[in-house]
């Protein structure tokens, strides 16, 4: 059976909510995504993982509905899973298997024919640079190597919908850059949902950013737009230690460097925080903090 890919590839989330006991982990989330890379960004407990698990058919929602290519993720989970690649945030591997065996195992669970699976496994082992260790038991792997195996298993069925939850956790800077490049190269004719705490990852790879806070979407935009909105709200000021302490109490600080000249602060706010402060070029991290803090009012806006 083949599910042919068409131009209507779409994830539609409407009024999605998830409640654990009395606490809402996700509330009234509405999204519509086509091919591309969507970065889900937000602090711990924002509901990113809950949202991804619902879309990945691993969790049922309390309210609302989510559909992938018109297939309801709750009622037609098996059909959705045929086109899904998923890398959980926290996952384990079978220590008694080698990388090659583990990937063949997951390929079998994904229903990939044996011969094709073998070829695919070889390709992915090369992509994640695990060739020298491919026949070593997973029990002896470092965290970063396990993460690479996780990435490879998610790509085994060449998924149309790829969901990766904190994929760069445990990877060293060089590996992280490589992984971002890999993700970017996969974006055409495919939807990738990337959850991350690392703003640089989202900045480098995502074509769209969805900011979540306390289970709600507070901003659905692009990096460029978010940066534009932050313009004029990032300030650099070099002051003495006493003034620095006072400014820290009154403003959000996204950077602080102490030197012989004094303390250089990177401050966020719509008004000039100090007479010596000068406007600085915002980074995505500045823009993110402004959105999360709601100081500039960016957070209340939702782009189409």
């Amino acid at each position: 059976m083949e599910l042919s890919m068409d131009s209507s590839m779409e994830l539609k989330v409407e009024g999605l909510g998830k409640r654990y006991g009395e606490r809402w982990a996700l509330r009234d989330v509405t999204l519509q995504c086509g091919p591309g890379l969507v970065g889900l960004v937000g602090p711990n407990g924002a509901g990113k993982t809950t949202l991804m698990r619902i879309v990945a058919t691993l969790l049922d929602q309390t309210e609302g509905h989510a559909a992938w290519n018109g297939l309801d993720t709750q009622k037609q989970g098996e059909a959705v899973r045929r086109t899904l690649g998923y890398l959980p945030q926290d996952f384990g591997l079978y220590p008694e298997l080698t990388t090659r065996q583990f990937l063949c195992y997951i390929a079998a669970m994904k229903g990939i024919p044996t011969e094709l699976a073998k070829r695919r496994v070889d390709e992915l082992i090369e992509v994640v640079n695990l060739e020298p260790d491919a026949d070593r038991k997973l029990g002896g792997y470092s965290g970063g190597m396990k993460q690479r195996v996780g990435i490879a298993q998610a790509l085994l069925n060449d998924p149309e919908l790829l969901i990766v939850d904190e994929p760069t956790a445990g990877l060293d800077p060089e590996e992280r850059v490589r992984f971002r490049t890999l993700l970017s190269s996969l974006t055409s004719d495919r939807l990738i949902i990337l959850s991350t705490h690392i703003i640089a990852d989202a900045e480098a790879a995502a074509t769209r950013l969805v900011l979540l806070r306390e289970g709600r979407v507070i901003c659905d935009t692009t990096s460029e737009e978010l940066l534009r909105e932050a313009e004029g709200q990032v300030w650099l000021a070099t002051v003495d230690a006493e003034t620095a302490r006072r400014l820290q109490d009154g403003y959000r600080v996204s950077g602080l460097v102490s030197s012989a000249r004094g303390v250089t602060l990177r401050l966020l706010g719509s008004t000039r925080p100090h007479e010596d402060a000068v406007v600085a070029e915002p980074t995505l991290e500045d823009a993110y903090l402004l959105s999360m803090g709601g100081a500039s009012g960016i957070g209340s806006r939702t782009a189409s």
């Binding site: 149309e160 890999l182 190269s185 996969l186």
Partner: protein
Amino acid sequence: MGTTGTKSLNIANNGFGRRSDSADGRVLQHSTVMAGDARHALASVVGWELNRATSDWRSWLLVGAVFAGACLQAPLNSGHFDRDHLNFPIHSAFGLAVGYMQMLSIVFVAIGSSMVARDLSRRTHEVLMATPIPTWAYVWGRWLAGVLMCLGLSIVALLGIIAGGWVLQMAGARPAAYEMPDAVGLAIAFALIVPVDVFLLTGFSFTLGTLLPRWANLAIVAVVALWLVGMPVYAANYTDRANTWLPGHPFMLNAMGRYYLDALQDAQSSHASITFEQQVKLAYEVGTRMPDLSLWLWQLSYMGVGVVMVALTARYFSRFRYEL
């Protein structure tokens, strides 16, 4: 990790049939997605579980321990053979087999309860549940793999018992103290004993371990306690003891004991006078004789209970795990 610019993938021949994303054809491409083949799903789950088990050195350690323990059954028990111990068939191969099955029962329960529960404790559950493997294939496949592992261990135990008896006889230290059992008869008895044990015990423990994975260890204790303590109490109070013969169960030893004593009495009554040595010899001849298991064949129906338990598990198993 491979740099996408330097790692080359064989896009054209990867079998997924989708085009490359980049002009140089070096990045992972996407393809027309292959749907999972449900026909092979069950076989895949069973096959890979067995593959995993055989890849684990701890499995082989368990196999070795079971074999060694079984080998030692005959030598260890023959050393205690005297007038006071003639009244129980523990010295016979059949008695040894039944007795050893009690110990293996605990292993069966542990295997059954962990077949799915360990995916949660190892955090492999989410990765597996995100694949299109059908729920029924996952549940039934895991249980069937557990059943095959238990049956395999039982065969190892049987071979160990026969080997231990054979070595004891060949050693020649006490040639009269041990008669080689009828190996075919023993195998037949085993074939009746083991599947009922395995299906019943793995069925219950699998159900508890799968549906209540956080309580998997407690499930092992509960099922073992029920098996070794609860069932004899139930059988003694609510069933006809003469017909109560749960294979591999303490109660079977009693049933075997009664059968053995009756047979021994019959054999002895044909002799006017009998020496202790003759008595010993006679006891072993009786003990190694194939018991009449036909009366107990109906108990094979207990296997159905285990199957029903697994069917219920497959029905109520949820891929959603809130505690993940």
